[in-house]
């Protein structure tokens, strides 16, 4: 099968869906020339650097029959649009009694590893998870990116697509034919029997590398990728932990009130899963600080395969 990059897979999802549905429109501060060429400047708009306004415009257009795809570029800039996301997009369908649908995709890159310092190295998805009314995807492979993003574009709700900066150039197999991946279905990226690592985005790859190392030491690691943060596939995660009895959660965001905390809660509040656990779980996350610039500082803050291995050893030795 052909291989394409994670970034390319996202691009293909957008252009194919824009071909499929003439009601899709694209809003971003940068109008990709190839897309303007293909779909025209009316559907592919270069907006002013006014995230609050163009995110609100997307809500208005969505409520009036269009399917906007907004690209904030970095998640950093979503914060300028926070009022529209928190006070409007997440609630507008519910608040008005479900009268109108608001199909919108907001794309943004997340994560660090690029020495871009605190403002441009953020993974704030749990802030959005705390709101009701937003769906969100966090793909880890080109295949997942394309399939999930297509589902997001076809969904009738606001969907946030969080896309890992570190994975943009990573290549993987993606079929030519149209396919989608339903929102809310996790993927077991590697099966194992001794311990489950629930990993997000880039850390799926780090967890797979850690699993290779642990295999040589006779520890069988299962790697579960939730793929969507809301809806979260509780069943797949719980089933894996029920099988292995042990859990490490790996996330590039800080631990405090993070997606990792949500995953820990959904595992431990389920009686059957809790009863199957042989050891306390361990979270391998970024340190709880803004992300610093200098390489040694940045490396110190982010989790990686070595810290996942250390986390696995810790849990294995605890029971």
């Amino acid at each position: 099968m052909r291989e394409i990059s994670y970034a390319r897979a996202g691009m293909e999802a957008v252009t194919e869906e824009m071909n499929r549905d003439p009601k899709t429109i694209h809003l971003a501060t940068d109008a990709p020339p190839a897309m303007v060429e293909e779909f025209g400047a009316a559907r592919v708009r270069a907006t002013p650097i006014a995230e609050n306004a163009f995110s609100g415009i997307a809500i208005g257009a969505a409520g009036s029959g269009y399917r906007p795809i907004v690209n904030w570029s970095m998640v950093t800039f979503s914060f300028v649009a926070m009022d529209q996301i928190v006070n409007q997009a997440s609630k507008i369908h519910y608040m008005f009694g479900g009268q109108q649908t608001f199909p919108i995709v907001f794309r943004s890159s997340v994560g660090g590893g690029t020495n871009l310092a605190a403002q441009h190295s953020q993974s704030p998805y749990s802030m959005f998870m705390n709101l009701a009314g937003l769906k969100m995807i966090l793909p880890s492979t080109p295949y997942d990116m394309k399939g999930l993003l297509k589902s997001a574009i076809r969904d009738n709700n606001p969907v946030l697509s969080f896309e890992s900066t570190r994975l943009m150039g990573v290549k993987g197999e993606v079929p030519e034919d149209d396919y989608t991946i339903p929102l809310g279905v996790a993927d077991v990226k590697r099966t194992g029997s001794d311990i489950t690592v629930v990993a997000l985005a880039w850390l799926v790859h780090e967890a797979l590398a850690a699993a290779e190392v642990m295999e040589k030491e006779g520890v069988s690691v299962e790697v579960v990728d939730p793929r969507t943060l809301y809806p979260m596939d509780n069943d797949t995660i719980r089933a894996s932990v029920q099988k292995t009895g042990r859990l490490v959660i790996a996330d590039e965001a800080g631990p405090t009130a993070g997606a990792s905390a949500e995953i820990a809660a959904l595992v431990t509040e389920d009686a059957t899963t809790f009863a199957a656990m042989k050891a306390p779980l361990c979270r391998v996350c970024a340190l709880q600080v803004p992300i610093p610039y200098s390489p040694g500082l940045e490396d110190h803050v982010f989790p990686n395969r070595h810290r996942i291995i250390a986390g696995i050893r810790e849990v294995m030795s605890a029971g």
């Binding site: 610039y293 040694g296 500082l297």
Partner: protein, 322 residues
Amino acid sequence: MSASPELQREMLRQMQTIRRFEERASDDYQSGAIYGVVHCYIGEEAVAVGVCSALKDGDQIISNHRGHGHCIAKGADLNRMMAELYGREDGFCKGKGGSMHIADFSIGMLGANGIVGGGLSIITGAGLAAQMDGDGGVAVGFFGDGASNAGSFHESLNIAASWKLPVIYVCEHNSWAANTAATMTHGAADVAGRAAGYGMPGIVVDGNDVVAVYDAATQAIARARAGEGPTLLECKTYRHRNHTERPGAVDPRPASEIAAWVARDPIPMLLEQLKQQQGQFSDAEFQAMDDEILAQIEASVAFAEASPFPAPESALDDVFAD
């Protein structure tokens, strides 16, 4: 004649310092000694230098993502700037900030900022503080034509005009915001025209003519110090280089447009002007000035290289104040 020949020579020195600093920063970014991203101000030096030359110590400025020029023009130490770009302990931010976040609060440089439009309300707050202090201080916000479309621009200018705050809003209109032309995002050619709607003067000036910038800034600052409120000062200029120094990025700007502005490079323009003012400056003197600047840049790199990388655990410092 507003700016004395002496001041003009000083302005030339500062402009050339910015240029040489950034040429070096770009080289060292390509070679891997500087990380992340570098946005160069080359071609726009007359704006920062013209405006900051009209300020006093104690006045405050704020910058955007393209901040080296504002820093140098306000008098920041080159060694500590370069050390920050190198990610070292002796950098202004102890290696936590890098190019997009250099600040030196001790000289009233309230920081570069990675959020377009992010500095505008902050500098308006610095203006409010200056007004309440009542000792004639002013605040200057530098931002691009792109930032002028952000909500924070409209909200800040309206408040500053309503409260007669001593703020000068300096729009560096270089016709492009990253890869998007201003013609696609602005309904009017001049940002300054909007000032009327807020109730403040809006001035358009040739941003490549440092003396013209200095004169316009001097007037706006005098107005602010006198308690008459803010001014929107739009400086028409151009960046000679791509949006960032990232290798391989496509520059969508027409070659003829770039060439026309490079032909109006603010540094040779000022040098020519000084040479024409009989006996005020010679090529040899400029050469000597440039040699001195290059030596300073070299020294700043040596300082940066000699400074240690911060201890990894220091990543946990300064999250909260004591």
